[in-house]
């Protein structure tokens, strides 16, 4: 019997295990897949020509797997054969839905490879429903969460500048990354059209931080950091939790459901040992689910009992509902003629967003635009790992080769990050027929883009036309569709927190309303997405939730094992 079980070891689970272990609790952390091993799993300064298929990967590498779709970006030939990503557990899409669910099952999860954008949510996000009447307010405000953002930033190390914009509140920052040539050009153009272009809040260590080394700019971040120069559970929280000697870490253990006792209280979890394929039960006084947003809902929906006929802690009926996501896509890409022929500059050695256009819409008046809320746009470009723009240049021969080089420093790209609004059409449930390879009923997605985010998408395309004109740039094109839903990896909503137990699954402390010893420490508690990403807030809210849980242990609300 443990004091606490933590399911998942990512941004939330990894943080929860560390805090609880450091407070003296005996913690059993259960991870779906294997232990991450940076030395063997990450890119580690290899170049693309060190790979057998030059990055394209063995076409037969997923043969025979239950889920054979390769994942973009984080999963690459550099980690081929290392079993970091989930291909053994299939999921379903309802007819008309095309959710792209990229899952990292190794310890640390997606946070091993994340994009490191770490802006703070503000009251414009927490109280958006008050401003525009759509959806539900968050049950917290900025004044009470700000100290937790500070704690998270101080722990993780986030580089940025002070910007004095309440919609993107300032935090505690390391020195920012230097602006490149393209950043100054974009900034001047953005200024002309009244759009801010500012340093992103990037969780990358521009200086040594705590005992982690400053970044050496090998540009391999999306394929794992070889030295821990950005926050990831593998380099930060997991070793710290282990150092307490209070942690039992189970790997290759797929949690199937939360177990309850006769009173409907959580008493532990059941998991499948992937190696033996046997089901095992583990018991604890408190259960923390941090399996990643929709997987947490999956586990809860599969935790049916006579107390919880539709899934544990689902008296509200909101479990799995209100699935929100970021609409991603490129609203415009092109090049800057003024940079033609310039020598290569080290634009992308940080593999991160140096600066972005943080939400500038509907700041004064919530209904200025045709859409409510707002979106941000990440900008990038310059000298990259491959001249992907070669399709824009006709022909072959010496002129073609020269032009490839001429254009190398000139390219500019954009990525919109637009939040979806909660909708009755968007939710996860359990597939009534399909079970995975271990006999666990599969998760099924229902999702459509809604009018609000599609208006944002259209709006952003005009912004790009205006921006390129203002920069003296030339547009080559724009994506004709947004990326598939799920691409952003920032889904939220399915266990949303709120003050009203009839309309929310969890309370303001991320404790489920129905089952006080069941806590959630991932993005499923956030009622909706914002223009900003979720990882740093997951860390901040987890710190706050664990603080509350530890107080509950002190007060005797939870007993020690």
């Amino acid at each position: 019997m443990y004091d606490a079980i933590v399911v998942g070891t990512g941004a939330g689970g990894g943080t929860a295990m560390k805090i609880l272990c450091e407070a003296g609790l005996k913690v059993c952390a259960i991870n779906s897949g294997p232990r991450t091993d940076p030395e063997n799993d990450y890119r580690n300064h290899r170049q693309v020509y060190d790979l057998k298929y030059r990055g394209y990967g063995d076409p037969l590498r997923l043969k025979g797997k239950a889920h054979q779709e390769p994942y973009s970006v984080e999963e690459s030939e550099y980690s081929e054969g290392r079993d970091l990503f989930e291909h053994d557990i299939a999921y379903s899409n309802a007819p008309g839905t095309d959710w792209y669910w990229k899952r990292c099952k190794a310890t640390g999860g997606k946070a091993n490879f994340w994009g490191r954008s770490s802006a703070r949510f503000g009251d414009i996000d927490f109280k958006a429903a008050d401003l525009d009447g759509v959806g539900e307010n968050w049950p917290v405000d900025y004044a009470e969460i700000s100290p937790w953002f500070s704690k998270a930033e101080r722990y993780m190390g986030v580089a940025s500048t002070i910007q004095n914009r309440p919609s993107n509140p300032d935090g505690e920052y390391l020195p920012p990354m230097a602006f490149r040539c393209i950043d100054y050009i974009i900034q001047k153009g953005a200024e002309k059209i009244g759009v801010p272009y500012l340093p992103d809040r990037c969780a990358q260590l521009t200086t040594d931080h705590n005992h982690h080394p400053a970044c050496h700019y090998c540009g391999n971040c999306s394929r794992g950091c070889d030295v821990g120069s950005f926050f990831s559970p593998t380099w930060f929280t997991i070793p710290e939790a282990e150092a307490t000697k209070n942690l039992t870490l189970l790997t290759n253990s797929l949690v199937r459901s939360v177990l309850v006792d006769e009173s409907g209280t959580a008493k532990g979890v059941a998991y499948v040992d992937r190696a033996t394929r046997k089901e095992v039960e583990v018991y604890a006084k408190v259960v923390v689910l941090a399996a990643s947003c929709v997987e947490t809902a999956h586990i809860m929906l599969n935790s049916k009992s006579h107390h919880w006929p539709t899934g544990i802690a689902n008296s509200s009926g909101q479990l799995g509902r209100n699935l929100c996501e970021h609409l991603y896509g490129s609203p415009g890409y092109g090049y800057l003629p003024r940079l033609l022929g310039q020598p290569a500059t080290p634009d992308n050695i940080a593999d991160s967003t140096v600066a972005w256009m943080p939400r500038w819409q509907n700041l004064k008046n919530p209904r200025e635009e045709k859409f409510v809320r707002g979106y941000s746009v990440y900008m990038g470009g310059g000298c990259g790992e491959f001249p992907g723009y070669y399709g824009q240049i006709e022909g072959f021969g010496p002129g073609f080769k020269r032009d490839l080089k001429r254009y190398y420093a000139t390219t500019i790209g954009a990525l919109i990050q637009a939040p979806t609004l909660p909708s009755p059409t968007n939710y996860v449930d359990i597939d009534p027929e399909k079970k995975d390879t271990f006999g666990i009923p599969q998760l099924r997605f229902h999702f459509q883009w809604g009018p609000n985010e599609l208006l944002m998408w259209e709006h952003s395309k005009q912004v790009m036309i205006d921006l390129f004109k203002a920069m003296g740039g030339e547009l080559w094109g724009v994506d004709d569709q947004p990326n598939r839903p799920g691409t952003s990896l920032h889904e939220t909503g399915v266990c949303r927190f709120g003050n009203d137990s009839k309309t929310s699954v969890t309370n303001k402390w991320a404790q489920t309303h129905d089952v006080p010893n069941l806590y959630i420490c991932d993005a499923s508690i956030f009622p909706n997405c914002t223009d900003k990403t979720t990882t740093m807030p997951i860390v901040a809210f987890t710190m706050r939730t664990c603080d509350h849980m530890l107080n509950n242990f002190k007060k005797g609300v939870h007993k020690r094992a």
């Binding site: 037969l60 997923l62 001047k188 020269r402």
Partner: protein, 173 residues
């Protein structure tokens, strides 16, 4: 023939061309292993990957045959037996919109595929990455260097570098 086509697409100039970079061996390997590099298909399964790979292999081999059939028709000999000007002229008709001729659609598609394989095969080698100046060949930097033009933030007055092989077309102000 693949080696020759690749070198036509990315020749040696002040840096090595496709031949020295081993692009032909790369193409042979990728085609034989049924690995396409043109990204038009949505790969959702191993079957999709194999179908795309088979298709790439079939089209590639058929494309080489097409080139020979075309050169026999135009010049009375196999592509590799033609004079360089003839080879060039045949390629230009496939590569440049202004020079497209009717009925050469599959030849144009083959040219695009050959170019895709060549560009990928070249710019994923150390030779290719060096020739374009890829900064990531250096993996340890003390910090991220910023813009080197603090007195010209709009970058409107940049000097054109004197390096050979770079176009001397003036930048727009």
């Amino acid at each position: 023939m693949v080696e020759h086509l690749a070198e036509m697409i990315i020749p040696e100039d002040d840096t090595a061309g496709a031949k020295k970079a081993g692009v032909a061996e790369f193409i042979d390997f990728m085609v034989a292993n049924r690995v396409p590099v043109s990204t038009s298909r949505d790969i959702r399964s191993t079957d999709d990957a194999m179908a795309a790979g088979n298709d790439a292999q079939n089209r590639f081999l058929a494309g080489l045959d097409w080139m020979n059939a075309r050169s026999r028709s135009e010049f009375g000999r196999e592509f590799m037996d033609c004079a360089p000007e003839q080879q060039n002229s045949l390629m230009e008709e496939l590569a440049y919109k202004a020079k497209f001729k009717p009925t050469t659609e599959s030849g144009r598609a083959f040219f695009q595929m050959m170019r895709d394989y060549t560009v990928v095969g070249y710019y994923t080698t150390e030779i290719g990455l060096k020739s374009i100046g890829y900064p990531g060949l250096r993996v340890v930097w003390p910090k991220m260097p910023g813009c080197a033009h603090p007195d010209d933030p709009e970058h409107a007055n940049l000097r054109q570098p004197a390096t050979p092989g770079i176009s001397t077309q003036p930048s727009k102000n």
